[in-house]
C-alpha cells in the first residue's frame, strides 16, 4: 500500500510534464513559423499557425483538469504541491506565448510590402532567441533544474536589446518611408510580442526555480538558502 500513492503521483506528474512539453513544443514552433511566414508573406503557413493554436488551448485545459484532479485526489504537499501549482501556472503562460505566435501570424496578410522593409530581416534571429528561451525553460521544468532556470533569465536581456534597437530602426524606417507606416506599425507589435515571449519565458523560469527550491529567485541574491 505504501508504494501505491507515490507511484501514482509520479505517473500523474509525469503525465502533467508530458502535456506541458507538448504545449511548449507547439508554442516554440509557432513562434519561429509565424516570423518565417511574415518574412515570406506565406498566407497559407500563417493560417495553419492560427488554426494550430487551438491545440495549445486544448492542452492547457487538460493540464488544468489533471492538476486539479491531482491536488484533489493525492493531496500533495511541499515540493510535490509546488510542482503541481507551477505546472498549472506554466500552462497558462505557454498558452499566452502561443497567443503571441497566433497574433504574429494574423498580421502576415497586412505585410505585403515585405521586400521593401529591411528591418524585417532582423526578426527571425530575435524569434529564434525567444523560442530557444521557451524551449530551454521547459527543459528546466522537466528536469527541476533551478540553475538552468537562472540561465534562461539571464538571456532575457539579449531579447530586450533586440527589441530596443528594432524599435528605433522601425521608427526611423517609418520617418523615411511614410507610405509603409501602416505595415511597419504591425511590425512594431511583432517585435513587442517577441520581447514579451522572452519576458514570459523569464516568468516561467522564476516559477521553475520556486517549484524546485521553495524559495523565490528574487530572494536568491539576498542570501536566502536554497532548499531542495
Amino acid at each position: 500500500m505504501n508504494d501505491y500513492r507515490p507511484n501514482s503521483f509520479d505517473a500523474d506528474i509525469g503525465e502533467l510534464r508530458g502535456l506541458i512539453a507538448q504545449m511548449g513544443g507547439l508554442a516554440e514552433r509557432a513562434i519561429a513559423g509565424a516570423v518565417e511566414a511574415l518574412q515570406r508573406h506565406d498566407l497559407v503557413a500563417a493560417e495553419r499557425i492560427v488554426a494550430e493554436d487551438k491545440k495549445i488551448d486544448v492542452l492547457e485545459k487538460q493540464v488544468e483538469h489533471l492538476a486539479v484532479r491531482i491536488i484533489a485526489q493525492r493531496a500533495p504537499v511541499d515540493g510535490d504541491l509546488r510542482e503541481v501549482v507551477a505546472a498549472l501556472k506554466i500552462a497558462g503562460v505557454v498558452e499566452r506565448i502561443g497567443d503571441y505566435a497566433k497574433n504574429i501570424a494574423k498580421r502576415v496578410p497586412a505585410i505585403d510590402g515585405h521586400r521593401e522593409i529591411e528591418p524585417l530581416s532582423v526578426l527571425p534571429a530575435m524569434a529564434r532567441l525567444a523560442a530557444e528561451m521557451v524551449h530551454d525553460v521547459l527543459d528546466a521544468f522537466a528536469a527541476r533544474d533551478a540553475e538552468a532556470a537562472i540561465g534562461v533569465c539571464e538571456r532575457d536581456r539579449a531579447v530586450d536589446d533586440y527589441y530596443n534597437s528594432l524599435f528605433r530602426v522601425l521608427v526611423t524606417h517609418m520617418m523615411e518611408n511614410p507610405r509603409t507606416i501602416g505595415q511597419v506599425a504591425h511590425l512594431l507589435f511583432v517585435a513587442k510580442h517577441l520581447e514579451r515571449v522572452g519576458d514570459h519565458a523569464t516568468n516561467v523560469a522564476e516559477m521553475v526555480y520556486y517549484a524546485a527550491t521553495g524559495t523565490h529567485m528574487a530572494e536568491r541574491d539576498r542570501g536566502a538558502l536554497v532548499t531542495n
Copy 2:
C-alpha cells in the same frame, strides 16, 4: 465538529476574495491613472503608478500562498475547489493588468508633445471602459454571478472597436506628422495595452463563469446545462 471545516473554509475563501478585490481596486485605479498621467504629461503621477504596481505583485503572492494552503489543508472539492483554482488564476491575470498600467505609466516621459497629438484625447474614454470591465468582472467573481460575467464579455467588442479605430487614426497621424512618429508609436502600444486589458477581463469572466457553474462559457451556446 461538523461545522468547523465549512466555517473555516468560508473564512479562508472570504480572505481570498478580499485580497483579489484589493488587487482589482489597485489595478483599476492604475489603468485610469496611467492614461490621465499620459494626457497631462504628469511625470510624478506616472512614477507613483509604477511604484504602486509592487503592491499588486505582493498581493498576488499572498493569494497564491493562501490558495495553496486552502487546497492543502481543507481539500475542497467541486465548486469550492473550482473557486480556489479560479482565484489563483484570476490573481495572475489581475497582476498582468497591473503590468499593462505600469507599462503605460512608463511611457509618460516619452510623450512630451501631448498637446499636439489629438488622438490622445480618445484614450481616457477607452481606459475608463477597460477599467470598468475589470471592476465589474471582479464584482461578478465576488458574487459568483455567471450572468454578470457574460455581460462583461459582451462589452469587450466595444473596447476592440475603440482599438481598431485608434490604430487607423494613429497611423494617419504619423503619416501627416512624421516628426511625431516616435511618440505616436508609444501611443500605439498604449492603445493595444488597453485592448488587452479588455481581453484579460474577458478571460477572467470566463473563469468566473466556470467557477460558478462548472461549465465553460464556450459550451453555453452549444446547449450545455448550467449547473450551479
